[in-house]
Each structure stands twice: as structure tokens, then as C-alpha cells.
């Protein structure tokens, strides 16, 4: 299908771009499938969390799925460092949903054998890890990019970060250093306008957030992040520039967070009903479905079939996680020597 995209460059110059790219129908369908799978998995996880089937925190990707699906595919081959809100990124990076669910359940068959949990998902064989410290993703991905360039790995480093992370020192330090060292690095800001309950816009006088990259000599762009095919087209353009130009870039995607910061604090507590409705209207699942319907890649029946297919897959993954054994307690003291 043909994808038309438009995005705003905000650094070094302010310039509107539009482009048209051909994407294979299979890939567009695969994005939607991953997004639906993630939503189904998270729906099941939220219900299970309500029944206290596992512990800890639960930050949902709901609303961020299109950015994950489109960016990861456009950036491959790449190494991705994700945030505390990374279920969609994990699935887009090819992490097995059963192993993902098992980790969230603290089981031995989880990707980290139960030692990481929902915020510390690592699957190095997929080129993927996450950290629960806001902003810490950025220097780690930048370091990977340095090795990738020096060892000619042909890969780029990708860090996801939220709007709140844009105010972390480690991020700002890396924005300074990455262009100076010409690192093949893509920073993906998922701007959902909320840092937990705090409105990011209240605490920075520079808008958009990406505009501050001008002060660092870093290329930066702003775009809507709700249609996976459009996200892919934009990311593909920019990744091409990173690879060809040997310099880093940042893309700030506008996304709606469709849940509370974590699943014990409902976001009704700090969001008006009207804003909640606005966010639901921006649901990337709906936006991506519309785009595929318009292009004739899928019809309504096809979407329904896909939805029930992934629902079953998610249920199987959750059941397997639930049934899987906990790690042997002797493993509590290994892997740290």
C-alpha cells in the first residue's frame, strides 16, 4: 500500500516535510496484528492484575502501540532500549508473548527467569532491553551506537523515552554528546503529555520538546504517532538519514496514553472526562485499522478475524504463564557473582 506522511522538522531548521512510501501489505498487516496482540495481552494482564495474580507495577503500552510497531520495523537491524512502558516495543522486537507474560508473572520461563519483571525486560537475542529508570534508556542506546559504528555492526541504537524523560540530565547530556560523536542513534520520544500525573507542558517553556535539540545540533522531528504505517514511513525516512549521514536524530511522536500511569492509579483522578474522550478518539488501533481499510489491505471481516486470532494467542500466552512454575529459590542468589 502507498503511505503518505507528513512531519515537521524542528532542528536544525523548521521545515515541513511530506513523503510517500510504498509499504508491503504484509508488513502493514503485521503491524496491526502486533498492536492488536499487545492490546489483547494487556487487557488480559490488567484483569489478572485486578485479581492479584502477579505483583509489582503495570504500565500499559495502550495508546503507544503504533509508534512501537512502525519505528522498530523501520529501524531494523537495531538494538532497542525501552522504557518502563515497553510491552508493545517488546512484541514489535519479536519477543515471544508467552515468555513476556511469564516474566510479568515472575515465572522461571520468563525472559529474565523472573528476576527482572515487567519493568526490566531483557531479550538480548532480540536486541532488546528495558530499564525502569526514566531517561536511562538514552545513554545506553548511545553507547550501543558507538560500538555499532566502531565495529561496523550495521545496526543503529534506538532509545525510547517519554516526554517526562526529556527533562532528565542524562538525556540532555547525551543530546549534547551524540551529535558530536556522530552516533548512529535514533531517539524516539513518545509524548503522551503526561509524566505520571504532571502535565509536561506546565514544566517546560520550550515547545515542542524536540525543539530543544536545536541547542545541541541534533536533528529533530515532530509527528503524529497513531497510525503505524505513517509512523513507519516517517521513521524509515529518518533512519535512512541516520545511516547515510552518520548522525543521530530524535523524533517526537504525539501519542495518547489510554490508561493511568500504572494500573493502580486510575487516570480519572487527574484527567477530565472530556480529555479522556479526546484520547480514546486517538486510539492508534482505530487509526491504523482505518488506514488499512482505506488502502484495501484488510476488510472489516479481515480485521475481526485478526482480532479474534490474537485474542486467542494472548489467552494462550497468559494461561501458559499462569501455569508455569516459579523459579527455584536457589536462583535468587545467582547471576550477581
Amino acid at each position: 500500500m502507498q503511505v503518505r506522511c507528513s512531519y515537521l522538522q524542528v532542528s536544525p531548521e523548521v521545515e515541513s516535510h511530506s513523503a510517500s512510501r510504498e509499504i508491503a501489505d504484509d508488513r502493514a498487516r503485521a503491524y496491526l496484528r502486533t498492536m492488536l496482540l499487545c492490546r489483547a495481552l494487556e487487557t488480559g494482564l490488567t484483569e489478572a492484575y485486578g485479581r492479584v495474580e502477579f505483583r509489582g507495577e503495570l504500565h500499559l503500552s495502550a495508546g503507544h502501540e503504533a509508534v512501537a510497531a512502525g519505528v522498530v520495523d523501520a529501524a531494523e537491524p537495531c538494538f532497542v532500549v525501552g522504557t518502563h512502558r515497553s510491552h508493545a516495543v517488546a512484541l514489535s522486537k519479536g519477543v515471544d508473548p508467552t515468555a513476556l507474560a511469564a516474566e510479568i508473572y515472575g515465572r522461571d520461563s520468563g525472559v529474565c527467569h523472573g528476576k527482572g519483571g515487567h519493568m526490566h525486560l531483557t531479550a538480548l537475542d532480540r536486541g532488546f532491553l528495558t530499564t525502569g529508570i526514566v531517561g536511562a534508556t538514552v545513554p545506553i542506546a548511545a553507547g550501543y551506537a558507538l560500538s555499532a559504528r566502531q565495529l561496523n555492526l550495521g545496526r543503529i541504537g534506538v532509545a525510547f523515552l517519554g516526554d517526562g524523560a526529556m527533562n532528565q540530565g542524562a538525556v540532555l547530556e547525551t543530546l549534547n554528546l551524540a551529535p558530536a560523536w556522530k552516533l548512529p542513534l535514533l531517539l524516539v520520544v513518545e509524548n503522551n503529555e503526561l509524566a505520571f500525573s504532571t502535565r509536561t507542558a506546565d514544566l517546560s517553556s520550550i515547545r515542542p520538546l524536540a525543539a530543544r535539540c536545536r541547542g545541541f545540533g541534533m536533528d529533530a522531528y515532530v509527528a503524529d504517532g497513531t497510525d503505524a504505517t505513517v509512523v513507519w514511513a516517517i521513521a524509515a525516512e529518518i533512519v535512512h538519514r541516520i545511516r547515510a549521514g552518520g548522525k543521530p536524530a530524535l523524533i517526537e511522536f504525539q501519542v495518547p496514553r489510554l490508561s493511568g500511569h500504572l494500573e493502580v492509579v486510575d487516570f480519572e483522578e487527574y484527567l477530565a472526562e472530556e480529555e479522556k474522550r479526546r484520547r480514546v478518539a486517538q486510539d492508534p488501533l482505530g487509526r491504523t485499522e482505518e488506514s488499512l481499510l482505506r488502502a484495501g489491505v484488510l476488510d472489516r471481516a479481515g480485521i475481526e478475524a485478526l482480532t479474534s486470532e490474537v485474542k486467542e494467542e494472548a489467552e494462550r500466552a497468559l494461561e501458559a504463564a499462569r501455569a508455569a512454575p516459579f523459579p527455584d529459590v536457589t536462583s535468587a542468589t545467582t547471576d550477581s557473582e
Binding site: 531483557t122 553507547g143 547525551t174
Partner: protein, 332 residues
């Protein structure tokens, strides 16, 4: 006669040999390139190995220590110099939450061959923010080895072990021991030219004795040896154990010496609260055969105050030969 080097020269040789034997090793840090490092440890290495492998960083510890984790994940082996241990506190998240924990949190997937080198210590009037050793701070967190050499031979062998070990290591180098002309103490020691290793986690009895044991690391070992020498005429025969590594800690060596002498003094150039001295006391008391033989325990460490600037004030809080001798005389 064996060749003698200052400690900074021994470290420089270890780094040069590591850069030669392993083309994946790179050095990062503030002023390590053209200047060769604040304490000369990387002198000449950028000229020899190039700017890609010996990289000057901006004063952005959070960025470059966080990057060290990603660099290791990407396949290079970073050895990072932090200009002073004190400033590593700026980047404690990168060191503690990322570097130290990732192997464990990932269920053993992530092996991170990262060495963080940092000059430590006082005795030259650099006051509260530039004189700390932070021995206990770095040793507190799971996932890091912590090494403190006390002489040029160990410095070279321990650094090569750390670099070859494939795990995160914090390597703390006492400023007074470097041998640079702007620090007063450092002395030369015999260092073989060829690469060699000293294993991590093995303490060394640097002075055998039977009357009392002094446990220490780094510059403290030298204070202990001076004090032991001062008492030798009186027939009080002090054993000095150089831990060399705070983690892994050679508990067996400490207990062995404690059981032999029955008296243990810990000399620790770090705050006494929640530190090495308390840890050693606990390890001795927890072990029944040692506890049964332990008659006396004491510590010479920094009281619960920041390190002051003025010379007599600094002398009053940092461990000194005089304070060590004072404790030992009580035991004679």
C-alpha cells in the same frame, strides 16, 4: 635488578598492554587524551592508540557512564576513567541501577565487561568534595567488584585481571600512591615488563606478625606498615593484611589472621559509619571459631563528618600512623 615503576606508570603499562592484546578495549574519560589524565595514568595512550580508542569525554558523567553499559552490550570493552571518585556520585544511577544490576535483572543474559577507574583519597587539602574514597559506597551494591591496589606490582596485575574478567569492576586508585610529583607519598616498586595478572578477591599478608592484625587497603596499608614498624622495637609484632579487593572480600584470610593474633584493627580511609570496619567486625563475630579467639577489635576511620580543608583539621579526621600507633600501644 628488577625494573621499578611508579604506580601510575604500572597502570599505564597495564592499559597499554590491554589495548594491545584486545582490539575491542577502548578508554573513555575526562582529559585522558592529550593531557593523559589528571594523574597521568593514560599518558601517551591516545597518541599511540588513536582518538577512537582513547576518547576524551565532556564533563557528563551520567552520559558517559550510562554509555559504558551500551558500549559493552555492543561488543566493545570500555575502561572508563572518572576524574575523582567523588564525581562518580553524579552518575550513581548509571553505576548502580544499570551497570551493576543488569546481569542479575536479565537473568544472566548481560555480561558487561566494564572497568570504572577512579582516583580516591585525601591528605592534600582537597576538602570535602574531592578527598573521599567511597570504598563502602561502591562495595555496598551487589553486582560490582571493587579493587584497591596498594603498590605498583598489584596495580598492574589487578588492572589486567579486572579488564580481562568480563564483569563490572570499580578500580579505586589512591592519589597518594600514584607517584606523580604533585602528590607527596608515592614510591616505586618492582613491576615485571610482561603482562601478568593478580587474581581479584585474594588478600595478601604484607607483613607477617603474631601480636595483632591490621586490616586495610590502599594508602591505609602504608600507614599500617609504618605503625607496625614503629612498634617492632617494643617486641609487639603486627601482621598487616592488604585486602586488595573490597569485593569479592577475602574473608578467609581476615579470619585466619584474626584467629592467629586475637586482635584486629581496621584502618579505613572512609567514614566509620556503615563501612568496612563494621563489615569486618561482623564477619569476625559471625564465625564462631574466630569469635572465640578474638580478644580485641578497634577501628581507625573517618568520624561522621565531611573531610575538612584546613591541614590540622584534615589530619584530625583522616587515619594517620599516629592514630594507628595509639591503638596498638593500648594492646601492648
Amino acid at each position: 635488578m628488577a625494573r621499578e615503576l611508579y604506580l601510575y606508570e604500572a597502570l599505564n603499562e597495564a592499559l597499554a598492554q590491554r589495548l594491545t592484546e584486545d582490539d575491542r578495549t577502548i578508554l573513555l574519560g575526562e582529559d585522558i587524551g592529550r593531557m593523559g589524565g589528571a594523574f597521568w595514568v593514560t599518558k601517551g595512550l591516545q597518541e599511540r592508540f588513536g582518538v577512537e580508542r582513547v576518547r576524551d569525554t565532556p564533563i557528563s558523567e551520567s552520559a558517559f557512564l550510562g554509555m559504558a553499559v551500551g558500549i559493552a552490550l555492543g561488543g566493545l570493552h570500555p575502561i572508563v576513567e572518572v576524574q575523582l571518585a567523588d564525581v562518580a556520585l553524579v552518575a550513581l544511577d548509571a553505576i548502580v541501577n544499570e551497570l551493576a544490576k543488569l546481569r542479575y535483572m536479565s537473568g544472566g543474559q548481560a555480561n558487561l565487561p566494564v572497568v570504572i577507574r577512579a582516583p580516591v583519597g585525601g591528605y592534600y587539602g582537597d576538602a570535602a568534595q574531592h578527598s573521599q574514597t567511597l570504598y563502602a559506597t561502591f562495595s555496598h551494591f551487589p553486582g560490582l567488584a571493587v579493587v584497591v591496589p596498594s603498590d605498583p606490582f598489584d596495580a598492574k596485575g589487578l588492572l589486567l585481571s579486572a579488564a580481562r574478567g568480563g564483569r563490572p569492576v570499580v578500580f579505586l586508585e589512591h592519589k597518594q600512591l600514584y607517584g606523580v610529583p604533585f602528590m607527596q607519598y608515592g614510591t616505586k616498586g618492582a613491576v615485571p615488563e610482561e603482562p601478568y595478572t593478580v587474581p581479584l578477591g585474594a588478600a595478601k599478608v604484607v607483613r607477617p606478625g603474631s601480636s595483632a592484625t591490621i586490616v586495610s587497603v590502599g594508602y591505609g596499608v602504608h600507614l599500617a606498615l609504618e605503625a607496625a614498624q614503629e612498634l617492632s622495637d617494643s617486641g609487639f609484632d603486627v601482621e598487616v593484611v592488604d585486602l586488595r579487593c573490597l569485593k569479592p572480600l577475602d574473608v578467609a584470610a581476615v579470619r585466619r589472621s584474626a584467629e592467629k593474633t586475637g586482635r584486629v584493627l581496621v584502618v579505613d580511609e572512609d567514614y566509620s559509619s556503615y563501612g568496612l570496619s563494621g563489615e569486618i567486625a561482623a564477619l569476625l563475630l559471625e564465625h564462631e571459631p574466630t569469635r572465640a579467639r578474638l580478644r580485641s577489635f578497634a577501628r581507625v576511620a573517618i568520624p561522621d563528618v565531611p573531610i575538612p580543608f584546613s591541614e590540622p583539621l584534615e589530619e584530625a579526621v583522616l587515619p594517620s600512623t599516629a592514630r594507628v600507633v595509639e591503638v596498638l600501644r593500648r594492646w601492648t
